[in-house]
């Protein structure tokens, strides 16, 4: 039986279809979850996709945090289920405090859309375990509010605990502190990533197929039962 990975659609989500396709290409079974759902339909992992949930009103992710489905996602994350937030999903995970820090307006104020080189810094999280240590990848990045900020003590704690999962290489596209592109929680099951691996899973449309490793990692994690 293939692994069921839930993809949450909020009003304003854009990348839910691509995330579902990435899950399918990786060998999982994508399960559509709606923001108003009160149950997670027996999924074994969850992706919060990119986009502009609730129009980015108030702050990015601030309103999505209170969606009914998020109550269940937060419970499951705290119980160890693999949860990946991409772009707007990362912003939502920070607003829920499942991940530390926050995403702020790009320092140069422009929306950015480019193929971005990254280095995978952590290969023990539930979403990065299929990468080689230090692997360099290229996946699309597209954001207006992608500057990762946290206080110095938090940044030191993340670095010390190996919780920076990916770092921008060659150019820091949005002013993120310490070139941070993604972080995970202490347990390694909750990961937030600003660039978009779901757009880099097919040669036809992506700059690479490097993104598939994130989704394959989750399948590996679920099969290994590492989240229990």
């Amino acid at each position: 039986m293939s692994t069921r990975i839930g993809i949450v659609t909020f009003p304003g989500s854009l990348d839910d279809a691509d995330a579902a396709r990435a899950v399918r290409i990786a060998g999982g079974e994508p399960v559509a979850l709606w923001h108003g759902d009160e149950d997670l339909k027996k999924v074994q992992a969850v992706v919060l996709p990119g986009g502009f949930s609730y129009g980015d009103y108030l702050r990015c992710g601030a309103i999505a945090r209170f969606a009914p489905v998020m109550t269940k996602v937060i419970e499951a994350a705290n119980a160890g289920m693999p949860v990946l937030g991409i772009c707007n999903g990362f912003q939502i995970l920070c607003e829920t405090y499942l991940l530390p820090g926050a995403l702020t307006r790009n320092d140069h104020l422009h929306f950015i859309c480019r193929d971005q080189k990254l280095r995978i810094e952590n290969t023990s999280s539930d979403w990065t375990r299929d990468f080689a240590p230090g692997q360099e990848i290229v996946i699309p990045l597209k954001n207006g509010e992608g500057g990762y900020v946290a206080d110095e003590a938090t940044l030191d704690r993340l670095e010390g605990g190996g919780r920076v999962i990916a770092r921008y290489l060659e150019v820091n596209p949005n002013g993120s502190r310490r070139d941070i592109a993604g972080v995970c929680n202490e347990r390694g099951n909750v990961v937030g990533l600003m660039p978009h691996p779901e757009h880099a899973v097919e040669d036809l449309t992506g700059p690479s197929t490097d993104g598939i490793f994130f989704f394959a990692s989750a399948l590996t994690s679920v099969l290994a039962g590492s989240h229990r």
Binding site: A102, T104, R105, N106, L109, G147, V149, D151
Partner: protein
């Protein structure tokens, strides 16, 4: 009727690129000596009836939980009484 004003500002240590852009624009438009500009948000909340302690406490919670993100923002809540509202 009570009116509550909640001002939300980025914490001083958080870079405010919008404020910096406004600072540049002010200078270009002829205002000299602009040392700094910070941009924030203001919520004007009109309440039915008087503000009792319960609702005041709830508002304080929500100002810190919904209206602002305490990781990057500070808020200040101001309650205007009837006279000030009608004035």
């Amino acid at each position: 009727m009570a009116r509550v004003i909640v001002d939300v500002m980025l914490k001083p240590e958080i870079l405010d690129p919008q404020g910096r852009a406004v600072q540049g624009a002010l200078g270009r438009l002829g205002l000299t000596g602009v040392a700094d500009v910070r941009q924030g948000k203001q919520f004007v909340i009109q309440l039915e009836g008087d503000l009792d302690d319960d609702r005041r406490a709830k508002l304080e919670d929500l100002a810190g939980e919904l209206l602002s993100n305490p990781v990057i923002e500070d808020y200040r809540m101001t309650v205007l009484d009837d006279d000030e509202v009608s004035a």
